[in-house]
């Protein structure tokens, strides 16, 4: 039987969820007998091929995040929003209390120690969205794995359930909303 293909990415997040993913520790070895990784910081594959499961950490703060998320949605049969930022916007969404113009001006024009003040306009840089958004506001999301970050046990449980062909179900102790 061919292996289950998994892709992972971090959008407007801190990679903390990925670190927590690695907290599955030695269970990763067993897991790798059943799964292989496609696009992921763990493989450095740049674009997502057809996959069974996509794990997306972080919310959407810029245009590139939107492109990556759409690619994941297109390629992954099951898309999981991982962690507080993917589900609710999280820490990056704290900027939502301000206008994006205020944020850029503070960072690049008026901030302490700014040299040669100008708002960067290089086409290589993705433009910021006016607000930070959770994933489900731009694509359909199949499952949500809450936590900041979700514990390694929660990753293991949700993946084990999916590998077993079951509807994922996390015990209360693994659900952390803040």
């Amino acid at each position: 039987m061919s292996k289950i293909r998994i892709a992972t990415t971090s959008l407007a997040g801190c990679f903390g969820c990925h670190m927590s993913f690695l907290d599955m520790d030695e269970r990763l070895v067993g897991l790798l007998e059943h799964v292989e990784f496609n696009r992921s910081p763990l493989t450095d594959i740049k674009h997502c091929g057809p996959c069974d499961i996509g794990l997306v950490e972080g919310g959407l703060c810029n245009a590139e995040n939107v492109h990556v998320l759409r690619e994941f949605r297109q390629q992954c049969k099951i898309l999981i929003a991982v962690g507080a930022c993917a589900i609710n916007g999280g820490v990056p969404a704290m900027r939502n209390h301000y206008e994006v113009q205020e944020c850029l001006e503070e960072a690049f024009l008026h901030g302490v120690g700014v040299d040669n003040p100008m708002i960067p306009s290089d086409p290589e840089l993705p433009l910021l969205l006016s607000k930070v958004h959770p994933l489900h506001e731009v694509v359909r999301v199949d499952y949500y794995l809450p936590g900041c970050p979700p514990p390694g046990d929660a990753f293991f449980t949700i993946l084990s359930d999916l590998l077993a062909g079951k509807e994922p179900s996390l015990p209360k102790a693994m659900l952390h909303y803040d």
Partner: protein, 582 residues
Amino acid sequence: MNIASSLPSGGDIHLLHRLRALQDRHQHIPPQTIAPLASELGLPVSQVEAVIDFYSFFHRSPRGHFDILFSNCTSCGDLVLMQQLCDLLGVVPGVTRADGLVSVDQTSCVGMCDQGAAALINGRTLTCLSAQQLPALAALIHAGTPLDEWPAEWFAVQDNIRQAALLLNDTLSSGDGLRAAVQAGAEQLLAELRQSSLRGRGGAGFNTSLKWQLCRAAPADTRYVVCNADEGEPGTFKDRVLLTRYAQQVFEGMALCAYAIGAQHGFLYLRGEYRYLLPQLEATLAEMRTANLLGENILQQPGFNFDISIVLGAGAYICGEESALLESLEQKRGVPRVRPPFPVTHGYLGQPTVVDNVETLLAATHIALHGGQWFRDHGTQDSSGTKILSVSGDCMAPGIYEFPFGISLQTLLAACGGQDAQAVQVGGPSGTLVSRAEFGRKLAFEDLATGGSIMIYGAQRDLLAVVRNFTHFFAHESCGFCTPCRVGTPLLRQYLDKIASGHGTAYDREEMARLGKLVKRRSHCGLGQTAANPLLDLLEKFPQVYAERLLHQDYEPFFDLDAALATTRTLTHRDDAEAHLS
């Protein structure tokens, strides 16, 4: 008038009243007044700050000298009028005009559902507002005319009692109930109350005699009686009328409770929207003191000492929840407590406390005089007596109706001229949406329980707009303590807004329903546990209301992605392909 003068001994002054005075004087709470106030009241600065931010009627930045709050209730609200007035005054809702003269904003239901459109201006209630009146109103504001010189009829509040029965056909003289109780003794009073099977009128329907008995039995030196007059459920206004017409009997009910449980002090927690009732309520208390119905050795009973203070809320629906109300009485944010322990053993200041609805206490006064059986003879097996209903919305005669428990909704609709309704919201937004097919259901704790709110919706009403209004209400009134409610209610609001604006899909509807069930199941208190009821009821009983708004596609984003890049496109002077999202 000094609101604080009637508070407990020791020059004790309530934080909410002090903040209200500051708000009145400065149109906001000036930052430099906070630390001195905290120190004077012996409270942490953080507590004062938290209270300022919690209650809607306190502000950090100045409101206008004329501060107008339009009700946004589906019965007494009219936001079209609000916008018209804003246009006349050259002001944007929620933003104080640059010259500081005026500000206009929305507020939750102000309890004038039988005489809308309604608004508060500097805390005073404007009723029966009409578009014709607005130019004159705007002119008075522009002229800076003090409210006392405005047409008095603009502030007139009618009682609109349409149907009176046991309690409203008042034959009691002042002190009758208390005299009867004192003659018979506390045990007998509790026995009559038990016989009456009176259940709490706020909506939950807990057995009143059991509540009093539990409080009486709780070991403590000090006990309290609290009358919950924080009538915040949209569509409810019966307590407003009871406190206008029958305040003496309500206070007497509190004294009866004090007599039964051995309390020496009571509080009437009055919602801030009913501030205009304060002078007459204080006058009633003064008369009762003179008549020895309050004070020391009441009715010459040695050791029967009891008095009542009034505490005025400041715009927080959640304070109608009894443990949040107690927190508010204790000068804190109105965050519901973890229960158990219940207030009957651990209430105000941790002491055994009875918290009863206005109508419950009024009924207790009547029962003390007429006996339990007199009350028990009315209503149904599980719901004895009568219920005082606040009827509003699309009917001929909105107002107060008193009926025995057990009448059908159809009977009530016939009485008020609302037979053509397509739906009725029974019990306010936290209650039940009832469709035409169910109009034969009975108003009683065992079927359609209600604290008294009956909102009628005629055929021309958009029920999705109604449910959206309720969902916005809950998101606004969530106290923020627990995550399922704090986060969940705004998400529900977002789904409904999306569907109402024609951008929703079947997926959104399913996600909304799933989330609604989660918010119900996981929330800390009744607010979150009921916040999803309106949208779930609508889904169950009027599925076509959603279906006809949905897009027939798999998914639709919540916002316009390309428009979300507009600001940064401008700031960076970019217009290349990468600067756009399709």
